[in-house]
Amino acid sequence: MQAITSNGTPFRYSPQALAEVQSLTKKYPEGCGKSALLRALHIAQEENGGWLSVAAMDHVAEVLGLKPIEVYEVATFYSMYNLQPVGKYVLEFCHTGPCAIEGAERLIEYAQCKLGIRTGETTPDGMFTIKEVECLGACGYAPMMQVGEFYHEHLTEEKLDQFIEDCRAGRVNKGTWKMH
């Protein structure tokens, strides 16, 4: 489990995100608005540069009328929430069995060498973070990685090279957790 982190930067939802988060609670009965928390955190993470700071979590707590601890305990449980700052593009490689037997481990090593970072680290220019994750439900299209909303399947070293180049050139769409 990661520790929660504060970097002193304040956080508030954008007006659009705030309206969306408030409307999320209407999907659940009166008094059950806490159910919107997971999605509210996804949106906060996106607006906070890809990770959840203490300030971001406190703001979510305030908006949903929860105690901060109720938010921390959830944020620390789920693997999609980053509790440390991350790069602009988080490359989430699946390393579970079916991907592993189709070459995921070698591909992850390749990415590590290419970017000069280990899993969990961010490149000095703040562009890339490598994350290893468990099965993402793409086992038949292995090896694969997720970046933002999108899956990149049947991944090869060449495809990864191209992807990294596209990121550097600003040609990659990460998708969004906000209504679109």
Binding site: S35, L37, V74, G97, P98, E134, C135
Partner: protein
Amino acid sequence: MGRKLLLEHAHIPDIHTYEVYRRHGGYRSVEKALKTMTPDEVVEEVKKSGLRGRGGAGFPTGMKWSFLAKPEGVPRYLLCNADESEPGTFKDRYLMQHLPHLLIEGMIVSSYALGANTSYIYIRGEYTWLVFHLERAIAEAYAAGWLGKNILGTGYSLDLYVSPGAGAYICGEETALIESLEGKRGNPRIKPPFPAVKGLWQCPTVVNNVETIAAVVPIVNDGGEEYAKIGIGRSTGTKLISACGNINKPGVYEIELGLPVEEFLYSDEWCGGIKRGKRLKACVPGGSSVPILPQYLITKTANGEQRLMTYESLADGGFVSGSMLGSGGFIVYDEDQCIVRNTWNFTRFYRHESCGQCSPCREGTGWMEKVLWRLENGQGKMSDIDLLVDIAKKIEGNTICPLGDAAAWPVASAIRHFRDEFEWHVREPKLCLERNYGLAEEKTPAAPVQTA
């Protein structure tokens, strides 16, 4: 060619849109159920169909529905389990991607049968794009009058929402799913009370897999008896199988239950045989949690009978020489794969995904991972092998939820069938770092054992 009940129209362009789906007979089951059947009659058809839960446990769906408590004035909920995180399983994703309206149609009919007026699809957060894909389809269904107040003027009302998770395999376990949907950590609850009595927000709740709910549509359209004509014995209907690993044609297939495993594995219509002309070494037929089978027990049972894709046949031989159909995650290993490494990999998965509430699961998965890691890296001892068996035994049956068992079975079965490979890792600590234990080195298969 087998019959297709779920994926029949999956290849049609734009079938994910309401217009095209409706033109191909979509939402007929809602008209039929709401206008001509009582909720109990729908439950009765599902019972007759013999449909069993497609999420992994295979519990008869009709029976599960009839356990739902119905106290006056208390809302009831139907939750669709779209958490799909079992390694090797990616069928629900395929169904939701191509046929979102089939799932919505199934949700309406099933909610009607259960008397639920609000239902949720809980989907793993990583399927982010599917959250919006489903929400667009739901909006179309509202606009066309299949959801909302007083559907088709029948007086029945239903609201349907999508609720995403955020990365946790354990949230596929039904009580953890409920906790997560309530906006909490995904810690499984101690049962009883069962969700059928006290589930979401302490109200009676049914949790069903995506595929189970989709299968209710053909059952209502054609009748339960028609559905039950497909399959063998208590394995009725069709099943989605997600095939992966070292095969020529990985992908999602709809099979009639009863298809011989050999045909599924080698026919060009399905997996198309082992990739790169290699030989088959092992197979995990139902997702990472079910026992692994060595090559000589995959297409035939220990008694030499043909092995079939059914709940019963795959389990033939019990844990001595059988496995399980599970979630339908069919993982195939060729001769170059290392069983010890794969077992370590799966154990790391369970260690990572354990919610940590029970010590046997939390500590046991951690210990098994450490011991497997040292075996895989040539630092193991002979006694480590029995140590693993012992830890697995101590986890199994001693935990709040079945994740403990799911972590123990792969280890126990790998050692049962591939003990020589584990021993080789101890005997050849240098060699095992350079290469894998080949098929040719494997001991001749043990004499067929009696079925348990």
